[in-house]
Amino acid sequence: VQHGPVRSPSKHPILTVVSDVDVVVVPVLAMLSSGTAAVALDPRNGASRLLLAAGGCGAVSFLLGPLAAQQSDPSAGASLLRMGCTLTFLVFVSCFSGLLLVFPSGRAPLVWLGQALSGLMSVAVIAPLLQLVGSPTLVANGDESTRIANVWAVPGLRILGSVGDVLVGSEPLWGVAALAVLAWRYRRADGEARAVLRPLLASFVGLALLLLLVVAAGVGGFEWPQPWFQDVFVTALSAVPLVLLVGLSQRSRTLHRELLASRARLLTAEDHARRDLERDLHDGIQQRLVATLSLTELAARQARHRPDNVNATLGDVRTQLTETIEELREVVNGFRPPVLADAGVAAALETRLRRLPAEVTLEVSVLPHRRWSPETEAAAYFVACEAVTNALKHAPGAPVRVRITDSHGDLEIEVVDEGPGLPLQPTTGSGLTGLRDRVDSRGGAFTAARGPSGGTVIRAVFAS
């Protein structure tokens, strides 16, 4: 084990600080264990998987490094070891950079950032392979002391090797770019999202300050007491995966809390619906039946005493019963229209919208006999009806377009109005929450946004 400052420009930047390479095992293990815990906690989260992948690749790269250094004579195996060491390290760096882009949700904030991340991962794999086939010499992970002649190199492919060299050499920029994205995400995030990103940003700022001290000391000719400084730096480095793990657990807890809240809201909504139904039946239909019953008794009495009046009373009975049947139909339609079960969501919406003002139009891009599960169709019908009701309420007179689409097997419902649009500050407890809950509960995706030309676009997509 060698102590003392090592600031050879040929070494990887981290090795300028960490002279005792063996201690690198600490952050590598921290990342591996944090990644394992994160994947166990939330296996579907891309950020968890990136953390585990970074930990795994970091560990492999760390193990391959000494093996490569031992094989100091050119051979097929020695070249492969150097290539493998570089490749796993680059994948590690790209995974870690990706984490800064997608933490904690696992989703890139912009589509092209997600594409850039995929591109970066491809480069991490391709660049070492280009070096293997084109470069006359190879090093393990930037360590010049391991440079040997490459027996795999094909002389005619030298240009590919150069491209590989450049790509591999650009690796420090990846992290810098990812850090810039992290800072940008922090800038544009709101309070809650900032609180999640802040510890991560803080730990990187801490690391940057430490590196800055090294550079400053180098410029000033000051030598840090190396073992002490190394420990500080390694500890700070190991803290980063822990910060990520804590953030991912917090997100998992938040999701759990939201799930409980949405379940409670759904139950409340169902409760309200039952109460409304009970009221419709008790105060509407039952009252009508009671009134009709009293009229039949009246008619029976009149038949005995004043037969002339019976016909008029029976006419009233008939009117009452007809209106009762109509009211019953209304109640049932409001609750769950039979046409929904019998003919599907498109037919049910057609029936429903026909009774609404003319500014509501329906576009059906679904084959006549295409059906989804009853629960999915009921949720889609509910969302469309509610969204239309909302649109008519908030944008009276403005055109409303309802579109039902069979989108590669998924059922897509879109309600577009040309009203004043959503309030910029989304209000909690609004009707939108109920719609979102309804869609979430069926595993669908719900979005409510401002339309390109004002107005509101409500979209729900249910997987088939």
Partner: protein, 238 residues
């Protein structure tokens, strides 16, 4: 039943449904024995009408605006408290015992609990209204059944000691039927009815006062299961 009253029974109706009010009014007015003197759409209006019109009896819906819960029962209590001479019959869509218990919690005199289907039988409706106007009590047979089955489910209930025939007699008593009427309905002799009744009163530990027997039965049945001592008489008899 309306003997002792000059002229028709004067009734005020209360129901938030115009259709029901109108139907019941037409039915009750179809005869010389009843005159509907006022109609109210909610409890407040009912109390006001009762104050100004001083009817013999009130027929009120159990749930009315604003809460649509038990406004009719609260109004019945108010009427009885301020006008003890006015009987109140509550028309209810609920056949379960809770609502009847709520109506009879402070006494049974001058109160009736009827299910809405009674509007299909004018004679029974008028009988219940006359009964409460005279300070009597009446409970709809279906509700009596609900009350009795609720109490019989309790292992220690004295109702479990009654025979099937005695239960039939008890049910008829709760509807205010006289001994001859009970005898006719059950196809037994009047003396057999008297024997059943005294047996019931002994088993249930109720006083054997014939005038109070409906309220005695109602009081027994409507006591919440926990607070039922074996007491001798109804709390709110005449």
């Amino acid at each position: 039943v309306t003997q002792g009253r000059p002229g028709p029974l004067r009734v005020v109706l209360a129901d938030d449904s115009f259709l029901v009010r109108e139907g019941v009014r037409r039915l009750l007015d179809d005869g010389d024995d009843v005159s509907v003197v006022g109609e109210a759409a909610d409890a407040a209006e009912l109390l006001q009408l009762v104050g100004t019109l001083a009817p013999d009896a009130v027929l009120t819906d159990v749930r009315m605006p604003p809460g649509h819960r038990m406004e009719g029962i609260e109004a019945a209590h108010d009427v009885r408290r301020h006008h003890p001479g006015i009987g109140v019959a509550v028309l209810s869509q609920h056949a379960d015992a809770t609502y009847a218990r709520a109506l009879f919690e402070d006494g049974t005199a001058g109160l009736a609990y009827l299910l809405k289907e009674r509007v299909g039988d004018r004679d029974e409706l008028v009988r219940a209204l006359s009964w409460v106007a005279d300070g009597g009590s009446f409970v709809d047979p279906l509700v009596v059944d609900a009350l009795m089955s609720g109490q019989r489910r309790e292992a220690t209930s004295p109702l479990g000691r009654l025979t099937g025939r005695e239960l039939d007699v008890l049910r008829a008593m709760a509807q205010g039927q006289t001994n001859p009427a009970i005898a006719k309905e059950l196809h037994v002799s009047e003396s057999a009815v008297s024997k059943h009744i005294s047996s019931i009163f002994t088993k249930l530990d109720l006083g054997n006062d014939v005038d109070r027997r409906v309220s005695a039965v109602v009081a027994y049945l409507t006591q919440p299961p926990s607070g039922r001592p074996g007491r001798g008489g109804p709390p709110g008899g005449r």
